[in-house]
């Protein structure tokens, strides 16, 4: 900044001096002009030093304007030169996800932060210090130059019942790289405190080859690898604000944990009724013995209990699951005893919603199919069944369009020439058999996407997404006289279509996850902290904090010069051309009052 203004001052002074030392031949209009005829002509390009008021010269103003425009053009794009004063900016990113509640991980992180600040005390005094906490979101807590203030804020951070999003760390690093070197708080060091190992994708671009191979963040199948400081290999290099040095501080020791990891509803195929619930329990490390699972009913009474058998020589990760059948609607609670250090997955609460029949608007002329859990309803139906002769309504209700049916088995087979892979629509279908069940010669319009198409253009199935609809060749042939192929194929096609339509909507949920807006676990509202992999407390190192990093100040790196906007360059050219034209042809006398006004503050400069 000082250099810029110094340069600006020098240029301005140069222009001023040029206007004081080189008298330009000013044009002036005089009534007494005729009396100048006999005067000697002016000497050309006189450079005689002459103290005069430069502000009385019109060309000074456009020249200053052009100068200011030029400086403005190059100022924002000019990267600062390497600073003579080294810069130190440290950004602490502290993990406060649920797994940091295990043991003394949060305390360890805070102590480690304090130790780093103590070790680098002379250098961090006055440096730019920034503290952010992250779990599923990042929250920037403080930006200060006082380490004690930073630590006071850090001490107030406590874990929240949320998962860990390590992409936030990568995003923070990108912010540092993308930040302008002239930003008020340039970051040279990024220090991350977390119990998570460094993700494989977190590789420094400039030193990817020299960086040790990254640790896999998937569920470990063996003893977790010791997570090194991510940039120890280049810690001795001088960091810069555009490529900050990164220290990954892995806190806490691996501890075993047992907890619920999945609770999934299983829905009836032709309705949205929850018929079963699958419960999964995962053990990380050696589980306690005995380990007991207990289910409590809506009334609080114990409904079931079971001891979970684990292996004598357990692998690092074991999974146990159980399916709960025919649970009536209500809120249930499940526990694992005994508890462990990570408590968020030891007790869960789920809500079985009251089962409702599927409301079907049956507009097909053939009588109603008596399917369990189906209920005829024309207002707000979950499914609509219409004939292919009926126009498709333009709304969002899933619609099954039923074609004219199938031909008698005497015809020659219709070879399938095109089919669209769809796990639900084509489930359990044998296409060789389908080719013998020939739809009648009616095809849906071209805005349908065929799923099964024969060589004579016969269509068994077609679909469209907006509005959601399935075209099926016919109703299930449930007549006892019907041959097996027709019975099977027509039934599968029809009910696969129904499943496809009614399972487009997400299945009913048994619980909700904690979120940054509601980070507290609430068993009454079935709000749980079962975030994926958050309960894997084995994933951490044991010697990660053995060495405290030394934070070296850095200098700023100049950015490459970018091309300034062309319209500004054009403006400069116009101003320069205008100045030249006015110098050649004379400044309009109408401007003289303006010149007097501009030069009024400088009249005292005029020599007497």
């Amino acid at each position: 900044m000082i250099g810029f203004f110094g340069f600006l001052s020098l240029l301005t002074m140069g222009v001023m001096i040029a206007h004081m030392t080189r008298p330009r031949s000013t044009r002036i209009l005089l009534s007494a002009a005729r009396f100048f005829r006999d005067l000697p002509p002016a000497r050309r390009r006189s450079r005689r030093w002459r103290l005069q008021n430069p502000f009385r010269s019109w060309p000074l103003y456009p020249q200053l304007l052009a100068l200011a425009l030029l400086l403005y053009i190059f100022w924002p794009w000019r990267a600062p030169q390497p600073s003579h004063t080294p810069v130190l900016g440290i950004w602490f990113l502290l993990d406060r996800s649920a797994s940091m509640s295990v043991g003394d991980r949060m305390n360890a992180a805070q102590e480690d932060m304090a130790a780093i600040l103590r070790k680098n005390a002379p250098r961090v005094e006055g440096a730019c210090l920034r503290l952010s906490a992250f779990d599923l979101v990042r929250e920037d807590l403080i930006e200060t130059t006082r380490p004690d203030e930073l630590m006071a804020t850090a001490k107030n951070i406590s874990p929240r019942a949320l998962g860990t999003d390590l992409s936030l760390v990568q995003r923070a690093r990108t912010e540092v790289v993308d930040a302008q070197p002239s930003s008020p708080c340039p970051i040279t060091h990024l220090i991350i405190f977390t119990d998570q190992p460094r993700p494989a994708t977190f590789i420094d671009d400039a030193h990817a080859n020299s960086t040790p191979s990254p640790t896999n963040t998937a569920v470990p199948t063996s003893t977790p690898r010791q997570a090194p400081f991510i940039d120890e290999s280049r810690a001795s290099e001088a960091p810069t604000t555009s490529h900050p040095t990164i220290f990954w501080r892995t806190v806490g020791k691996p501890v075993p944990n047992v907890g619920f990891t999945a609770i999934e509803p299983m829905v009836a195929p032709l309705s949205r009724t929850i018929t079963r619930v699958r419960v999964e329990v995962t053990t990380y490390g050696a589980p306690p013995s005995p380990l007991t699972w207990t289910l409590y009913g809506p009334d609080g009474n114990r409904m079931a209990t079971q001891e979970i058998k684990t292996w004598a020589d357990p692998p690092p990760v074991q999974r146990w699951s159980r399916t709960l059948e025919a649970l009536p609607p209500g809120r249930y609670q499940m526990t694992l005893t005994p508890g462990d250090d990570y408590a968020y997955d030891d007790v869960v609460s789920i809500l079985i919603p009251s089962g409702e029949s599927l409301r079907v608007d049956w507009r097909f002329p053939t009588p109603w199919l008596d399917i369990p859990d189906w209920q005829q309803s024309s207002s707000g139906p979950d499914l609509r069944v219409i004939s292919f002769q009926t126009p498709l309504p333009d709304d969002d209700i899933p619609t099954l369009v039923v074609g004219p049916g199938y031909e008698s088995p005497a015809r020659s087979p219709e070879r399938i020439v095109y089919f669209l892979e769809d796990p639900i629509l084509l489930a359990d279908l044998n296409l060789d058999v389908v080719e013998r069940v020939i739809p009648k010669a009616t095809a849906p319009s071209s805005d349908w996407l065929p799923v099964l198409l024969g060589h004579r253009g016969r269509v068994w199935l077609a679909r469209r997404d907006d509005p959601p609809a399935i075209y099926v060749a016919g109703l299930p042939l449930l007549d006892p006289q019907t041959d097996t192929n027709h019975l099977t194929v027509s039934s599968l096609l029809f009910f696969n279509s129904v499943r496809w339509l009614i399972h487009r909507a997400p299945p009913p949920t048994l619980y909700t996850l904690t979120s940054p807006r509601q980070p507290q676990v609430d068993l009454v509202a079935s709000r749980l902290a079962l975030h994926p992999e958050e309960g894997n407390t084995l994933r951490t190192g044991t010697e990660a904090l053995s060495k405290l990093p030394t934070l070296a100040p850095s200098s700023r790196i100049p950015q490459p010069l970018e091309v300034p906007p062309s319209f500004l360059i054009l403006a400069v050219l116009i101003v320069v051309a205008l100045e030249r034209i006015l110098s050649a042809w004379g400044y309009p006398s109408l401007l003289y009052p303006g010149l007097r006004f501009l030069s009024a503050p400088f009249r005292r400069l005029r020599p007497r």
Partner: protein, 325 residues
Amino acid sequence: MKLTPPSWRPFPWRAGELDAYRIRAWRRARYAGSGSHLTRRRGQSLEFRDFVPYTPGDDVRYIDWRASLRYRSQNDLLVRQFQAEERMTFIISLDAGPTMWLPQALPKLLVAWWLAQTMAWIALSFEERVYLHLLFGEKEKPMVLAHPAQRRHLSQHFSRWAERIRPTDSLNLAPLYPLLKPATVWIIITDLYFADSPMADARLSAQATSLARLLKETRRGYRWNLWIDLDSWPFERKQLEEGAYRIEGPGLREPPPAYEISATALAAIQQRIDAMKASFITESDLPATDVSHWRWPTEHPSAEAFFRRQFMTDAILEQLFQRTP
């Protein structure tokens, strides 16, 4: 270089100001002891009232030579005054040449136009006849104003007169000859820059020589000639500092030549202008008391303020209106 006439700004007098000026001039003349004849009314009779010393502009036909020889010296003539007096005639000759269109900050032509208008207004108040004459023009006839009622539309009359202004070098004296009768005051408003001769061996230009000759002749015929010298050189000189300038203006070639301006050069120009004016005065036999110099202020002036101040303090013009009852 293309010059344009100045914009004709409104008459710079407020209502009643010129009446006050006229009454003040009249009172001063009364206290000067010229006698009761100053209060006489105009009439058509030729009844003798008094002898008064001759003042320029008096009709020479009324000089009483015998009484003058008897009572006074030859240079101090006595004029007979009558109850009814011949109406005086004001001929206002305006130089509207290109040099009068400058300086642009305060054009001389604008001041001359205001002055002519002011004098016409006062003269019409005294029921005198006024001829408005352009000093340069192609046989441009003077415009006559003869009735006091014409004061109410004086601005329109002058606007029409201003429309006649054309850039020309031909001196327009021929239409004046029949008008320069006895009891005529001829007022010439000019900067006289046209008098500068392009010939090195001539002191005055041909136009200035012709004008000076006519002035001399009319003065011999006891007409009163006044020259209002509009001198803008002090203002223009102030614009020039030492250094190189491209000077442009009437009388210089195009493109404008560059001159090295110095104090010596400026003094030489001043001297040349003074010499030219002195030469003209000599040639035209104008007494110094009949030349009024209106010198432009050195700073950028307010045109109205400059004109009002100059007019109010001009002793020669005051004398002119004192003798006009």
